[in-house]
Amino acid sequence: MSVLLVAEHNNKELKPFTLNAVTAASQMNTDLHAVIIGNNCGDVAKKLSELPLVKKVIQVEAAHYENFVAENFAPVIVKLAENYSHVVCSANTFGKNLMPRIAASLDTSQVSDIIKVISADTFLRPIYAGNAFATVKSKDPKKCITIRPTSFDPCESSGGSAPIEKAEPSEEFSNTKFVKREEIKSDRPELGTARVVVSGGRGMQSGDNFKLITSVADKLNAAIGASRAAVDAGYISNDHQVGQTGKVVVPDLYIAIGISGAIQHLAGMKESKVIVAINKDGEAPIFSVADYGLEADLFEAVPQFIEELNKLNTIQK
């Protein structure tokens, strides 16, 4: 039987991680269908149909799908799942919220946050904040899988022309009402997909000092990250948090400034290709994962770093 991928989008565009999820899903079975649930999302359905790995698109539209409420999404996916062996989506807040609701309705034990497809029923996933990797085999007839997007490459996004079928919406779940979403708009690259991430921790000492992080990020066209300590202290908003309970990032370059490197933070960034740590505590655990460590007071080192970057004049685009 085929694989059903749940596309993540905002009714205007596909979310970039949908492409990574398509890659992962196609490794379970190449007969891959994608479902898009939303409101006035025809343009996105078309984009989805252009992904060469997608063999069929199922489009479900209704006003109550406008805001991606899991209680509305789950019944329609559960119904469609009759014809599929796997239901797959990304393990970000969208998929984490939605997939267990589908899995429980299908009486399936979900496999969360996989980083590798070993076979159609066997997967690799990190446990204990990435301090161990478990190889697990799902014995359920239907499998519900969420994938860690940064562990899979994005698929080709053009050249395909899959048929688009419409499916009936399910009834609205009346006990949950969407009120509002406060998205922080930024011209910077998205944290999850940025080539360079510059992160600050408790060592920044204040939200105002985060402008040092911003300056470095400007020079390198980087996304801005933060440790949980920095978010808890109110230096920066929650959408910047990197770690076990925040975002997992795998950039080419991760610069950790004033971050001690708690297990929970390392879980979110230690797969980065090159890690730089700037911290005045030479014993800080962040140095154990850093390719290049600089033991220094960040308030002296970071302005110098910005100056050196200015000299290089290599603003990356």
């Binding site: 899991a70 807040t93 984490k96 919220n97 997939m99 267990p100 609701r101 899995a103 429980a104 399936t108 034990s109 979900q110 969360s112 946050d113 990190p126 446990i127 204990y128 904040a129 990435g130 301090n131 161990a132 190889t135 697990v136 085999k137 799902s138 014995k139 779940f173 949950t176 009402k177 969407f178 979403r181 406060e182 998205e183 922080i184 999850g192 360079v196 949980r228 808890d232 908003s237 929650n238 959408d239 076990q244 309970t245 370059l253 929970q264 230690k270 290709k273 090159v274 890690i275 730089v276 140095f287 994962v289 390719d291 290049y292 600089l294 110098q304 770093f305 050196e308 970057l309 290599t314």
Partner: protein
């Protein structure tokens, strides 16, 4: 209003977890155990709601081996009124736990069920959502702010893009983020008092739920190690290395 709070006993968040030599799991012998951190936030929130006069009873429930009683006892020490321990051995998947909790919900009839958004051992992030599916209740996951409005809750949720606010009718499930509140410490007198609070023990097998694993754990391994890095002496050296050696700037 009655609030049921689910708490899990896990390896303490400060412990460096080690994989067993035979690759069957991680070492749990002689390792410090404590309450799953966001479950502490769930208890704290329930107790705060009770203190504000909007709830009459807070019941803490845990599923696991006999020793999980300590986790329930800790919840009692910070303000839960009574406890329930569902005794079960071996690996319990979130689906099995949510089915057991469903039985407790049917018996206790709480208005709200709180728990942490994710357990830091298996990192599944499933149980709350599964329980709400089984009960067909609304779910407010990753909650960082809860406001009670009569028979409704307004919940602010942490999502990848920022923050989202939803309104849900009671009865409902809320899974708590670490930023929801600042969990209190148990005072010594309250720890003593908690020893007298009742904990009902129920065998999972008596609840008529099949808890056998659906997922076979084939092996557990150490993740690949990063090769050791170097310390640079100056910012200039750092920039030179990043440019010429790592070639990332």
């Amino acid at each position: 209003m009655k609030i049921l709070v689910a708490v899990k006993r896990v390896i303490d968040y400060n412990v460096q977890v080690r994989v067993k030599e035979d690759n069957t799991g991680v070492v749990t012998e002689n390792v410090k155990m404590s309450t799953n951190p966001p479950d502490d936030n769930a208890i704290e929130e329930a107790v705060k709601i009770k203190e504000s006069g909007k709830a009459t009873e807070v019941v803490a429930v845990s599923v696991g081996e006999e020793k999980a009683q300590e986790t329930v006892r800790k919840a009692l020490a910070v303000g839960a009124d009574r406890g329930i321990l569902i005794k079960a051995d071996g690996i319990l998947e979130p689906l099995a736990v949510s089915k057991l909790l469903q039985k407790i919900v049917e018996k206790e009839k709480p208005d709200l069920v709180f728990m942490g958004k994710q357990a830091i051992d298996d990192d599944c992030n499933q149980t709350g959502q599964m329980l709400s599916a089984l009960l067909n209740w609304p779910q407010a996951t990753f909650a960082s702010k809860i406001e009670i409005k009569d028979k409704k809750l307004e919940v602010m949720r942490e999502i990848d893009e920022g923050l989202e606010t939803i309104e849900i009718n009671i009865p409902a499930i809320v899974t708590c983020d670490l930023r929801l509140n600042e969990p209190r410490y148990a005072s010594l007198p309250n720890i003593m008092k908690a020893k007298k609070k009742p904990i009902e023990q129920i065998n999972a097998s008596d609840l008529g739920v099949d808890t056998s694993p659906r997922i076979e754990q084939i092996k557990v391994e150490e993740p690949p190690k990063r090769k050791a890095g170097i310390k640079v002496k100056s910012v200039a050296e750092l920039v030179q290395k990043l440019k010429n050696e790592a070639k990332v700037i």
